[in-house]
């Protein structure tokens, strides 16, 4: 079976990204986004793109990237999840980048890899691999993730007999921001527009599909990072919070719940890693791995965040404590790129289980 462990290089990458997130983000300023919306935290994004160059992980060196791959991008996303970082890594550096990669595009992809531009795929954020429809008519598409602040929009438009993929400059259409449940990945309504046609028919379809697959596969790692962070934060909190003259983490009911959560988070890690690895290897089991990871990691992230709120007691309910940021991100991510129910629905036929 494919390797599920982290390489030394990946460990080093994790350390760099974690350091950058710690330097450039703090929970209070992240919470501030809810009152003063912005597409992303400029300093954190700059650090990821300019200092660390991780926007180009998926892109080969000869097209302006660093020639790594999904395993490495997954490590970055684990750290983004851990920090609930408001950065467009998943939408621009993974999904949009993968769409362009698939098309053999090289001009814009170099700009994305270098962090000189960001892009977004214009589909509702709930679209999933194998189940999405190209944009019809002139009504705004919503809710679209990563479109706020993006330079480039990739719009798959319905055409007689298929899809036409348009590259539209943000300035050439209207991107209206929406009040999002998770303001750290703000959503927008994007008015469809025509632009440079990148591909049509099967090519266009395949490229969008590849973008969504990469997004779903690697979102699992972001969810895992978030879940693990919730577990660690909560373990730490219950060790230190004293009630009834003892740390509440010494109460057996709480210990057992956290033991169960540890199991879930650990398994989520294996599932996310397997999804990233099969994507990297273009393994025949890729579609199975993605559905498994999306179903499992989505729910584990929500459960971990919900347990974090509950076990932080009243503090978990406040605006002051950062726990709420995790819950909002987790719940939104559960809906992103297909709900667990939909992925479970998709999985059966892949493993010869049908109704």
């Amino acid at each position: 079976m494919t390797n599920l462990l982290y390489t030394d290089i990946e460990d080093a990458l994790r350390e760099s990204v974690r350091g950058a997130m710690e330097r450039h983000l703090d929970p209070h300023s992240t919470t501030g986004i809810y009152d003063e919306p912005k597409p992303w935290e400029a300093k954190a994004w700059q650090s990821l793109t300019e200092e660390l160059g991780v926007a180009g992980l998926l892109v080969p060196e000869d097209r302006g990237g660093v020639g790594a791959g999904p395993r490495e991008a997954a490590v970055v996303l684990e750290e983004i999840g851990r920090a609930v970082a408001p950065v467009p890594y998943l939408t621009s550096s993974v999904i949009a980048t993968q769409v362009l990669l698939e098309l053999g595009e090289s001009e814009h992809i170099a700009a994305l890899a270098a962090g000189e531009a960001t892009a977004a795929l214009v589909l509702p954020w709930s679209a999933r691999p194998g189940h999405w429809s190209p944009v019809q008519g002139t009504e705004p598409v919503k809710p679209v993730a990563g479109a706020m602040g993006a330079d480039l929009l990739l719009i798959p438009v319905a055409e007689a007999g298929g899809v036409q993929l348009h590259l539209v400059k943000a300035a050439e259409t209207t991107v209206e921001s929406l009040v999002s449940f998770d303001m750290t990945r703000p959503l927008a309504a994007v008015t469809p527009a025509s632009g440079e046609v990148l591909a049509t028919g099967d090519d266009a379809h395949r490229a969008v599909e590849a973008g969504l697959q990469a997004g779903a596969a690697l979102l699992a790692s972001e969810q895992y990072g978030l879940a693990r962070s919730c577990l660690e934060t909560t373990v730490d909190y219950v060790k230190n919070r004293i009630q009834f003259a003892r740390p509440i983490g010494s109460f057996q009911a709480i210990k057992h719940r956290l033991a169960d959560l540890y199991l879930e988070v650990t398994q989520a890690g294996a599932a996310a890693r397997y999804a990233a690895a099969t994507l990297a290897d273009d393994d025949a089991d890729k579609a199975v791995a993605i559905s498994v990871a999306q179903t499992y990691c989505s729910d584990v992230a929500v459960h971990a965040a919900e347990e974090a709120v509950q076990l932080h007691g009243g503090n978990g309910m406040t605006w002051e404590y950062p726990v709420h940021l995790y819950l909002k991100r987790a719940k939104s991510s559960q809906l992103a790129l297909g709900t667990p129910e939909k992925h479970r629905q998709d999985l059966g036929p892949l493993v010869n289980i049908t109704t």
Binding site: V179, A253, G314, T318, W319, H324, L327, K331, R344
Partner: protein, 393 residues
Amino acid sequence: MSDPKTMLRQRVDELLATYDPATVSATEFLGARFDAGLAWVHFPEGHGGLGLPQEYNEDVANWLAEAGAPEPDRSRNGIGLGMVAPTIMAIGTKEQQEKYLRPLYTCEEIWCQLFSEPGAGSDLAAVATKAVLSGDTWTVDGQKVWTSGAHHAKRAILVARTDIEVPKHAGMTYFLVDMEDPGIEVRPLRQITGEAEFNEVFLNGVKIPDADRVGETGEGWKVATTTLNNERVAIGSGADREAGHIGVLAEKWRKYPAIRSEAAYHELMHWWIEAEVTRLTGERLRQQLEVGQPGPEGSAMKLAFATQAQAITGLAIELDPDHGLLYDDWTMHRPDSTDFLGRDVGFRYLRAKGNSLEGGSSEILRNVVAERVLGLPAEQRLDKGIPFKDVPR
């Protein structure tokens, strides 16, 4: 002598004849109702009652409702009406009863509750806010939290530590506080929903006359328990089918075929059934109360309500992802009252997270059920018999 019902009917008719609800103010009407002994008929005469059995309150309420008479605003003064009044009636002095019950009832004076502290959440008896007696005036210093309505309350009930040399349950005292005291500062406490439904309350040198102590010095725990017991009585009894979150979701399901799927159907029905059996349990509890045989189900039912509220709102978000990804409004507000079902699904989901914390966390309630209902052995107490000042905090 006529039977109580006939007598009450007469009194109600007299009240309505003298104070026409259509023309007098709510305050005036409620004051007159109080003076007529029709506020709570089981209270003694002179304190808004007539010393009759509690069951007659329902008749009075029904007759007055038919006549379009105003009721006291429970959403604004729930603490006053539901907790303070019975506590003062049971334990307060005659002076306290005379001074506080009437304006409380007319809602001229709104009350709030100063119990929880940052270090005393589940462990309510760990309050550290200090009250020191000098002459016949207490001086209070400390910090309270999770106080709803503090910003429009005239008065508060307060539990404070008056002796740190005795074990924690023995060193607390219960007071009535004037919220207009210059030593009180109320700050909004913003929540996960974006709203500030609650407040933090800072007490710096707040003065309380000893006459506003309820119960003996050092008996605050006992008095607070009386207050809190009044909070959990008859929880959710007698609700209609599909009341609450499940009804909101079922209605949406009926209205929008697009959100339906086979898998979601079974999950929806699962929670529909859970809500229904909890409703039936509440109905049975109501019937038991009616015949004077209250059961111990209340604490367990609160567990069920919290679980269901959280699961159902979570499911509601999942059923309509493109809508669930949005939120109605993050702007900071200070709402006058709580409406769990108000606003959009995202708010309902976030607000429901509080249901397993406020009014006794689900963890504490499971302890209560295990120990008081099932008789399982109590947890080892590490703070038993130790002076408060020596207890680890």
